[in-house]
Amino acid sequence: MLSKAKLWLSLALSTLMLWSAGLHAAWDLNMPRGVTQMSRDTYDLHMTILWWCVAIGVVVFGVMLWSIINHRKSKGAQPATFHESTKVEIVWTLIPFLILIAMAIPATRVLTAAYDASESELDIQIIGYQWRWEYRYMRENMDEEEVSFFSVLATSRDEINNAADKSENYLLEVDRPLVIPTNTKVRFLMTSADVLHAWWVPDFAIKKDTVPGFINEAWVIVEEPGIYRGQCAELCGMDHGFMPIVVHALEPADYQAWYAEQQAAVRSIQEAAGAELSMADAMAQGEQIYTRNCVACHQAGGVGMPPVFPALAGSAKATGEAAITMETLVNGVPGTAMAAYGRQLNPIELASIITYVRNAFGNSTGDVVQPADVNAYIQEGQ
């Protein structure tokens, strides 16, 4: 009896907690107004057309309701015999037409402005992958270090599988957000490495498909510093729901400092790649990378989901020659969901994950692939 009461109590409590956790924005009825001129213009258009619809609805449904109440047979209503009127038909053809013209004019103006991506001050390339985003900052001087990184869901699998409490920004948190300066015209150049994705941040009123083989553009001038969140909006396969977008908008000076920091980090990784990697370090780091990048398809324990996502435990590619494992990781497998990680991970990370899959899940090749080997392999390919 006691355990039953306990069960009910905990059920009620957790319901209550879920309820209050959702309270802050859970009853939102409308679109956000956003933080750019474009998002405010979009919001205003949305409200205008909404109110037109409400007005028309009130008239049409009003007449209908009037008939339903007053012209019912049970009240003794006698049917009228009229059944056509060219005049009336012309009137109710013309009025909607005029309303639509009144809507089309501001819509055309806003759309034309959205399409003017000229004179941008900063260009960032956005590349969609199954199921992560890559951000590459375009350099003016090709001798500078290139700042580019991948942005991956940071919500743990335990939260998703209900094994842990859900954090405030459940499914809307990434390991490395995109960072942009405020009050600067930033142009995004979008493409995809595999299937279609769509990059969407509601507060910017930007949603654009990333299409393999095409480069689409969009632009933004964010007025307020802050953290803005969005999600992939185009079905892109299994983990479509798990590739969020997070953008940090910083004051221009803060942005410059952040950017310089990133360039310094690129330099230090290049230096560290010359050092020897131990088995323990490689396995520890490899496991983290596996959890972040690989587990969605190859599953915990490396069992995979055959035939689409092959098992790694005991696989020929993972237990054969190191060069084959390296090739698979660096170049991916064309025509499958296996992405090329040569650009996504740095040489130390690549060496770790290669070592990890060769020595985890019961695989035991015993060798440690070194960052220098990976670097040599990549350079050979170029």
């Binding site: 059944h83 053809t93 499914l171 009123a205 396969g237």
Partner: protein, 527 residues
């Protein structure tokens, strides 16, 4: 009547009656029962989706199976439930409405039905194949459906080919029947609107189903024969897929709604006891909508990065659709105005159709405004929009039609109390289900995701409750229909006091063969 002539056989006995039948009424019934079975199957898939979305986190299905459910739900509902149901109504009612003895091509009629179950058997069987069934959405955008699709995609392609062949044959039959087999005196502008809307729908089908067949064939070549129609790495174009798909897909949505307009245009005058207002304008509006449906397809693609001129053209053309659609709604309301209304179940469904289809129309106009569409696109706002026009739109019209003509089909009146119960539960359920989805979309929830951020929890919870209420309410319809087939109060030939048209001049139930001699021209009145 001549129906009892000795050289005219009644239906054959047993299974062979249904396998070999060339009778339009039998084939109509087959289509209707098949589509109802598919409606329940597609509905089951939907309930799996709504169960998973009841609360945040992954509870019942893993993401890959979730994607198979959304894909199968869409495909089964569009190709298995709504389209065959309207073909079933066309088979039953068009010959009765135009005074013809049967469809023009009865053997092809049998064939076009009997390939359908095999197509769906093949498509649904992919769920049990290695790698699972189609998981790329009912729109099957390349390259997710080609390079990255599961091995079963080939079976999906073949199933689509068969469904397309069935639809084209059905459409040819409808056109041949309407153009050649009208009774003397049944001029085009005296045809009931259901016949008109189906004539136009049939032309749409013949125009666009071959495009669908073409696009899936191109997929087949990309998958198996090394072509690169949609593969950018081989010089192909993933956006081309979308242009081709939506050139089929947009007329397709009108294929699913125009016959519904016809049904409602029959029911509202009957229960208003008043002639349909603006018959001529209804015909012209239907034709205008059909024409416009061919030049608006890219409004499904406002975010793919079309040039500005393209965006503007498709925005203006799409907004124009509101004009003829508005004319239809105004005409229905004007028909009710100063009528003598009663509210039997078909009328309740028809009125709900007008109101909720119009709500879906409003969100349609909102979606046409391109810059705002950037925010709505691929969110639950779109899901709410097209479900409003398809469920309380097309599906409600099918239910209205079922209750309206059921006495003519079975010879018995259905249980009015249960019919009304079915209506009210469906009405409440469908609004609980889909209205909150507008809010979810505006707040930023993308469609086709198996799990969502916490701020979307409340409305998803309400939506799922509505889904189960709506879903299980449909069992009442099944019960009412079976009860009505088995017996009840005898229906008169006229059935409804205010009903007009040739189908009400034949006995209830309609004999196996009707109008073997054309009806008297005096029976044919202007609608």
């Amino acid at each position: 009547m001549s129906a009892a002539h000795d050289h005219h056989h009644g239906p054959a006995k047993g299974l062979s009656r249904w396998l070999f039948t060339t009778n339009h009424k039998d084939i109509g019934s087959l289509y209707l029962w098949f589509s109802f079975a598919m409606f329940l199957l597609g509905g089951t898939f939907a309930l799996v989706i709504r169960a998973e979305l009841f609360q945040p986190g992954l509870q019942f299905v893993e993401p890959n199976l979730f994607n198979q459910m959304t894909t199968m739900h869409g495909l089964v509902m569009v190709f298995g439930a709504v389209m065959p149901a309207f073909v079933g109504l066309a088979n039953w009612m068009i010959p009765l409405m135009i005074g013809a003895p049967d469809m023009a091509l009865p053997r092809m009629n049998n064939w076009s039905f009997w390939i359908l179950p095999f197509a769906f058997l093949m498509m649904v069987s992919t769920l049990f194949m290695e790698g699972g069934g189609p998981n790329f959405g009912w729109t099957f955008y390349a390259p997710l459906s080609t390079t990255y699709g599961p091995p079963s995609t080939t079976f999906f392609i073949f199933a689509i080919h068969i469904m397309g062949a069935s639809s084209i044959m059905g459409a040819i039959n409808v056109i041949a029947t309407i153009l050649n087999m009208r009774a003397p005196g049944m001029t085009l502008m005296k045809m009931p609107l259901f016949v008109w809307t189906w004539l136009i729908t049939a032309y749409l089908l013949i125009a666009v189903m071959p495009v669908l067949a073409g696009v899936v064939t191109m997929m087949l070549f990309d998958i198996h024969f090394g072509t690169s129609f949609f593969n950018a790495a081989g010089g192909g174009d993933p956006v081309l897929f979308q242009h081709l798909f939506w050139f089929f897909g947009h007329p397709e949505v009108y294929i699913m709604i125009l016959p519904a307009f016809g049904v409602v245009s029959a029911i509202i005058p009957t229960f208003s006891r008043k002639r349909l207002f603006g018959y001529d304008s209804m015909v012209y509006a239907t034709a205008s909508i059909a024409f416009l449906s061919f030049i608006v397809w890219a409004h499904h693609m406002f975010t793919v990065g079309m040039p500005l001129a393209g965006q503007l053209f498709f925005m203006y053309a799409t907004m124009l659709i509101a004009v003829p659609t508005g004319v239809k709604v105004f005409n229905w309301v004007a028909t009710m105005f100063r009528g003598a209304l009663t509210f039997e179940t078909p009328m309740l469904f028809a009125i709900a159709f007008v109101v909720m289809f119009t709500l879906g129309g409003f969100t349609g106009v909102m979606l046409a405004i391109t810059p705002v569409d950037f925010q709505y696109h691929d969110t639950y706002f779109v899901v709410a929009h097209f479900h409003y026009v398809l469920v309380p739109g097309a599906v409600f019209s099918l239910m209205a039609a079922t209750y309206y003509w059921l006495p003519k089909w079975t010879g018995y009146m259905y249980d009015e109390t249960l019919g009304k119960l079915h209506f009210w539960l469906s009405f409440i359920g469908v609004n609980l289900l889909f209205f909150p989805q507008h809010f979810l979309g505006l707040a930023g929830m993308p469609r086709r995701i198996p799990d969502y951020a916490l701020q979307f929890a409340n409305f998803n919870w309400i939506s799922s409750v509505g889904a189960f209420l709506f879903g299980f309410s449909q069992l009442i319809l099944l019960f009412v229909v079976i009860k009505c087939v088995k017996g009840g109060k005898k229906a008169t030939d006229q059935v409804w006091e205010g009903a007009q048209g040739l189908e009400w001049t034949v006995p209830s139930p309609a004999p196996y063969h009707t109008f073997e001699t054309p009806p008297d021209a005096s029976l044919i009145k202007a609608q």
